[in-house]
């Protein structure tokens, strides 16, 4: 598996990268490369040029603030998972990370890259949605931010980027009393997600949740949040029956993907069971 030929540049600054990107129509950006290099080898992508972001040091910082963290686009997943404050304040991200790829893939792969790829079965994307991440985008001399939900919409490229570069991912810290988890039903042979859910609940008064964030991937056409189910949990109370009905209603609103690994019906069934069990567990905690 040898990629088609392409030209290559390794700019040292963001400005230089942006200027190369505007000159080279259709150039691909190389961050961790754990999706792009596969696409190049399988020739699902054959860009004329690859712009390697690995020498842009300003993209490699993890910056903690009072309420959240800014994760530079070139921060490796492994480095992120080793960060003490991330471990303490973003347990959902760390739990998800441990289930994503393998240690060698995480040594190179980046969170920003995983969001740009927005694989239908993506682990990191589900966590970013549930944690209400924001994606920082640089281009045309200015910076803008998009919520993860507006960035990952199922259309390519993610965020509708045109000649722009994702520079960072912003994540608010989880509340101290939040209960969260990432669960995945994997295909037995290949390990890909049949259905996954990243869930973060903040317990409130009278058995209802103060806040609920539920993101699913693997089963639906693209990773997304389930706002109706989130609303049902904040409205509470959630007797088992109500919960089942609310889950069914949320599933009715999704389009499920089917392929030779699992049919759409099977994915829907497994996602329903996964949501029901995981929510009951978190609510009873």
């Amino acid at each position: 598996m040898i990629p088609a030929a392409f030209d290559y540049a390794r700019p040292a600054t963001l400005e230089e990268a942006a200027s190369l990107l505007s000159q080279e129509g259709g150039a691909a950006l190389l961050a961790g490369g754990q999706s792009l290099i596969t696409e190049l080898k399988q020739r699902r992508a054959s860009p004329r040029a690859v712009i390697d972001l690995n020498s842009i040091t300003e993209l490699s910082a993890i910056e903690h603030g009072p309420d959240g963290v800014r994760i530079g686009a070139m921060v490796r997943q492994a480095e992120l998972l080793r960060d003490g404050t991330v471990q303490k304040r973003l347990p959902l991200l760390c739990e998800t990370g441990a289930a994503a790829g393998d240690p060698m893939i995480r040594r190179l792969g980046t969170l920003a890259g995983a969001l740009c790829e927005a694989e239908p079965g993506g682990d990191w994307v589900a966590a970013a949605l549930a944690l209400e991440a924001e994606v920082e985008i640089y281009g045309k001399g200015s910076t803008r931010r998009l919520s993860a939900a507006d960035f990952v919409t199922g259309t390519k490229p993610a965020g509708g980027l045109q000649g722009e570069i994702v520079t960072a991912v912003h994540l608010p810290y989880q509340k101290k009393d939040s209960r969260s988890t990432y669960r995945k039903v994997k295909h037995n042979a290949v390990g890909w997600s049949i259905a996954s859910a990243a869930i973060s609940l903040e317990p409130g008064e009278g058995g209802a949740c103060r806040k609920a964030r539920i993101a699913v991937s693997g089963a639906p056409s693209h990773p997304q949040r389930l706002p109706a189910l989130e609303a049902a949990l904040t409205a509470g109370p959630y007797e088992a029956e109500h919960l089942r009905a609310a889950i069914e209603e949320a599933l009715d609103g999704l389009t499920f993907r089917g392929d030779h690994y699992a049919s759409a019906d099977y994915r829907r069934t497994r996602l329903g069971i996964l949501l029901s069990r995981t929510l009951q567990e978190l609510l009873a905690a």
Partner: protein
Amino acid sequence: MKSELDIMLTVDGAEERTTVEPRMLLIQALREKLGVKGPHIGCESGRCGACTVLVNGEAVKSCMMLAAQADGAKITTAAGLAAEDGTLHPLQQAFHEHHALQCGYCTPGMLCAAMDLLKTNPKPNENDVRQALRGNLCRCTGYQHIVDAVLSAAGTLGSGASAVKGAAE
């Protein structure tokens, strides 16, 4: 924009210079340009881990990296773990003693992934070892002997974990 690059790699202590096309993967540069046959090519799609090497001390799959990206890096392959006089590294010795290989195809990758684990976590438990080797497939052993070997090496190295660190860097 370049369509050919001169790169420099330090492979198992030896400085090597070569010219590559940007599309050349690190594993291809190592094996085909530099004749370094430690890391194997298995699936070439980032799953099997047979091509794992240490790049600046960190285990990565060398089929998932362009040679151009490794320019200037220090590469350690399984062949570079032993001492110059051929004395096996304690991890290699443990593989030998625990019969942690049959056909040996996955072994270079297993060794490099395990080196990285022992550097970051000198006292792993069985689950840590299995998680660390998750990206390395073995079709012969059923993994048990490999896990035993890594745990045994961690015990042998004990407080001498610095020896692992030294070799990995």
